[in-house]
Structures are given as structure tokens and as C-alpha cells.
Amino acid sequence: MDYFLSEEQEMIVETARQITDERIIPHRAELDEKDEFPRVILNEMAQADLFGIPIPEEFGGFGGGCLDIVLALEQLGRGCIGVGTAFAASSLGIYPILIAGSQEMREKYLPAVAAGKKFAGFGLTEANAGSDASGIQTTAVLDGDEWVLNGTKQWITNGGEAQIYSVVAITDRSRGARGASMLVVEEGDPGFRCGPKEKKMGIRASSTTELIFKDCRIPKDRLIGRKGTGFITVMKTLDSSRPGIAALGLGLAQGALDEAASYAKQRVQFGKPIMAFQAVQHMLADMAIQLEAARALVYGAARHIDAHPDNMSKVSSMCKVFATDMAMKVATDAVQVMGGYGYMREYPVEKMMRDAKILQIYEGTNQIQRNVVGQELNKEYARS
């Protein structure tokens, strides 16, 4: 389907497609097998300016919007959402600075990220604070000219690989949701270290670790925005970033459909390619229909967000749920179409199916996304 992309957007697609075909796909199985962080590929993506897409031109970026990043992530996701996640998490890490950071803070961090010299990460989740962010235990206390952080963040993407982390900490427990703040922690700050790499079911090319703060002292000016605005910044960040996760789902599903359909053309049973059997054709047709419907929703949501509406939570959550549930289904069906071969590691759909699962879990579980949509509906219908 023609989505009437601009010439610049076509360029983004072409660049990300070339990176995916030439640099990611040939290495994805090995990265997965070895749990290896794709440092070389990320450097090539940086050289091709992909890290600059969401960063304003005044900071050396491309000045792109939500749809631009969606288009890049869709292509990367077609190759490997492990690599795509590492890339997306770096954007996620700088969104709080983009959304709420001071001009000085933007000048300090954004050019290095745009140039791919530094990676970023985003630290929200803790052992007892996942879907329920109010359970956050990590604290930041002002001591003279320094914040002192204590606590542990869990399952942080790009942990140990990033140089810049946007972290949520409680600065005033008595104020509830208004007592949280976001701060920038840098690699090498005293009292900060990352835990060992987690062993995961999928997206094994990405790095996931704890961020451990033990009397970690950072300068006072590392506070992002005003004290107590942490949760607002988190919500705005996730509203902007969720279509990117949806885009990884689109890419993954496209990759799975491509594999399953070309296999079905070649695989002969009962004297015919299995594509000739209606049972298989209908599965492939359903995969293609769901994928295209999801793509239309994700692109539409991204364009809506690029128009800077007052409230984008609902469409952001809708597209994340729909595209990632679709990706899980399409990946599972791709394995089914390919039968025993699909279950084997020699074929890429086995990895796609393992990888797809995380899309329904991270950046807000799909249950939480439905809560968001439901709450918005509740508000809308109260007005009418």
C-alpha cells in the first residue's frame, strides 16, 4: 500500500533497509547465538545518521518526527529486533532530555548521541516497580551541590553499553506521584555500576542489566526538568516511544511473512508447492491482512503524534498493542507454515517467534496499554 511518504522518509527507509539487508541479516543468527551486543552494526548505523533521526537539527540531528523513527525501526525490526531494541532504547534514553531537559543539558548530551559517539539508556523498572511505577524504591537526595542516588534498576536495555542513562528516582516520597524526578547518570559516575548481563529468551543481541546505585553522587544540574516532574516526563517519553516498539513489530512480522511465503512457494508436498493448498494460503493471507492493518494504524498514530496533539496516549497505546499482538501471532503462524523446519534454528522464524514475545511485555505490557485505552474511553464518554 502507498502511504505517501515524503522524499526524506523514503531516504530513511532506503538507508535503514540497506543497513538491515547488508549488515544485520547476515549477522543476526550469530549475535543471537552468542548473546553478542551489535557494537559494529550500531556504529555503522551511527555513521549513516540513523541515531540523529529524532534529534533536532540544531544539535546535529535530522530533526525527524515519530513517523521517521517508526520507518527506520520497521526496517531494522525486519532484520533483528534485538539490534532494533538496542537502537530504540538509545532514543528512549534521550527522549526525557529532549522533552524536559534544559538547553544546557540538550547541548551537552544530544550532539554526541546524534553522532553515535554515545549511547543512551532509560532506567524506570525495578524489582517491585514494573507496571506499577509507584512502587519505585530508588531515591535521590540533594546533598549540597550533589544528588545522592541509592537503589537498583532492573532489566535496563543498553545497560553496560550506554554512556548516558535517564533514571527515575523518588526525590520526595511524601508527594506520591509528584515526588518522582528524572536525572541523568553517566557511565563512570562514582557509586554507579551495572550488573551482569541477563540471559533472555529473545532479543539476545541487546544488552539487559541492572543499574546499581550505592551512594552514587552526581552534580545538581543533572536533574531533568523540574523536581517532581519525573512521572510526567516518563509518560510523555513513553507516549512518544511506543509507536517505535509497534514498528519493530511491523518489521518482525514482515520478515516472518517473507520467510513463510517464500518457503511455501518452494516446499513441495503431495506433488505441489504448499502455497497451492488453501489451508496454507489462508494462513498467509491472514498474516498479510493483519500486518497491513497494523501498519496503517501505526503510521496513522505516528502522523497523529507528529501533529503534536494535547493527548496522544490513546493512539500510542492502541498501536503498540495491536502491532505487537499481531507480530506475535504472525511469527507463530510463520513457524506453523514452515512446520518442522520453522522450529529449527537453521531458519530465522524460530528466533523471530522467541523475539516477538518481548514486544508484548516491554515499554508497558499490552495489558497496561489496554488500561490506558480503557481509561481514555472512560474519560471521553464521561464528557458526552
Binding site: T15, Q18, E22, A48, D49, G52, F62
Partner: protein, 266 residues
């Protein structure tokens, strides 16, 4: 060909060729069936462009890409710009048509003289359509500068010259060469980068300098078909020479027959 301090000047020669993945011979005419075949930058030249851009990043200066070809050869010049090259020059004129390597090197040398002083000229080892590997060395001879072919690595680069590895059948030579010089490069030298977004934006807008036969002051007798002492008389696919033999009998007997048969070729 003097050298200005702190402003290294590199010229890269590139050629637009049909994509080898698509090329077929028309069985009737025995010529390349070019219809519907994609054109690409000669793969060796992509490595030459990459090396030029890397040297610029290392030493500073600027890179100009040069091609002789029809107007659509602009595409490969824009591709070079998107990979980090600064300027592009297309030498294009109907009078250049039918040029062999002799006339091509003459034409390129004339164009280089119009572009101005340089420190380094880079070419791919050969083009994948003609496969002659003659234009690079020919160009160096016309310009009266030293050249090194089949460079697989630039070991060291300074303001005054390069230390290089030249690929040989049984290893490599290490050579030092002073500027100005011409190198032809093999694919081992680097991995070409993927064009960047900013590079592509620039490539779209960049003005490509066009030079005609008159602009470069070419002698009409030295260019195109009249300037080409060699001509392609006939192109034909080699005859297929596959012999088939079926061995029969027990496995041991078949092995003896196979070994005998193989030995007859030694």
C-alpha cells in the same frame, strides 16, 4: 601539480557499469543485453571512493569524484557524494562514444588537468564490464606520475606520501610512494560505508560540474572511436565443454574407472 599545505586533494575516478547480477548475453547478437539492466557504480570504484573519504577523514582536505560517461552517469557521482565525497565532475560528450582504454585515459587526463592540482588519484582495479585494468595505469602514464596497482591496504598516510601494501599472487609487497601518485585498489582494502542520510540529502542537491570535449581541450582525433586503436570485433560466450561419463559396475570398479579417468587429465 604542486601541493598546497594542509589541503590534501584527492580525485577518484569511477565508472557506471551494468549490474553484473543482471547481465546476460543476447544469444543472437552476442552483445550484452542491457535493456532493463540496472546500472551501478563499478564495485572496485566503490572501494576507491571509500578509501578516498577515509584518507580525507584522516588527513583533511577534499575529494573530487570524476567520471566519463553519458548524462545518466550522474547517478554514480551522486552516490559518491552521499558517501562523503565533496565535489563531482562528469566528462560527457557524444564525441567520447566508443572510447577504448587508450582514448579514455587521454580524456580523463585532460579532465584531471582542468580540475587542477591534486595529491592523489584513486581508481578501482578494473571495471567489471570491460575487465581491462588499463585505465588507471594509462591515466598515470599520461599524467607522468608514479602509480601502484592492486593496493590492498594503506598502512600509513602522511602529508608527503603513503606506505602501501600491493596485493600479489603469493602475498603482498610493501611500497612507499610520494604524492602526487595514482593507486588502483582491490576490494580487500576496505568495506564501503552505507550512504548517510545527510550525505543523501547533499547528493540530491549538489551541482555536478559538466565538462565537454571542448571544455577539456581534447584533440578530436584522440577521443572516442577515432582515438581508439582497439575495437571489439566480436563478443561471444565460450563454448560449453562439459563431458559426461557414467561409470558402471561394482563400487570398487567404478572407483578404479574414476581414478583412471582423472589421471588421464594429469
Amino acid at each position: 601539480m604542486g601541493r598546497e599545505l594542509d589541503a590534501m586533494k584527492i580525485i577518484v575516478c569511477v565508472k557506471q557499469v551494468p549490474d553484473a547480477k543482471d547481465v546476460r548475453l543476447d544469444p543472437k547478437t552476442n552483445t550484452l543485453a542491457r535493456e532493463g539492466v540496472q546500472s551501478i557504480m563499478n564495485p572496485y570504484d566503490q572501494h576507491a571512493v571509500e578509501e578516498a573519504v577515509r584518507l580525507k577523514e584522516l588527513l583533511g582536505g577534499e575529494v573530487t569524484v570524476l567520471s566519463m560517461g553519458p548524462p545518466q552517469a550522474e547517478e554514480v557521482l551522486r552516490q559518491a557524494i552521499s558517501c562523503g565525497v565533496d565535489h563531482a565532475v562528469l566528462v560527457s560528450d557524444r564525441a567520447f562514444a566508443g572510447a577504448d582504454t587508450w582514448a579514455t585515459s587521454y580524456t580523463l587526463a585532460k579532465a584531471v588537468n582542468v580540475i587542477g592540482p591534486f595529491d592523489l588519484l584513486l581508481c578501482g582495479k578494473q571495471a567489471i564490464d570491460g575487465d581491462t585494468a588499463q585505465v588507471g595505469p594509462g591515466l598515470a602514464m599520461r599524467l607522468q606520475i608514479p602509480y601502484v596497482t592492486c593496493v590492498q591496504k594503506v598502512r600509513q598516510a602522511t602529508d608527503s606520501g603513503l606506505i602501501l601494501e600491493r596485493m600479489m599472487d603469493d602475498g603482498y609487497d610493501v611500497l612507499a610512494v610520494d604524492f602526487p601518485a595514482l593507486l588502483t585498489v582491490v576490494k580487500d582494502i576496505n568495506e564501503p560505508r552505507i550512504p548517510s542520510l545527510k550525505g543523501k540529502m547533499r547528493a540530491k542537491k549538489v551541482e555536478i560540474r559538466r565538462l565537454s570535449a571542448a571544455d577539456i581541450g581534447a584533440d578530436p582525433a584522440c577521443i572516442g572511436l577515432p582515438g581508439s586503436p582497439t575495437q571489439v570485433v566480436k563478443v561471444f560466450p565460450p563454448e560449453a565443454r562439459c563431458k559426461r561419463a557414467v561409470f558402471t559396475g561394482s563400487l570398487d570398479e567404478q572407483i578404479v574407472q574414476l581414478v583412471d579417468s582423472l589421471q588421464s587429465y594429469l
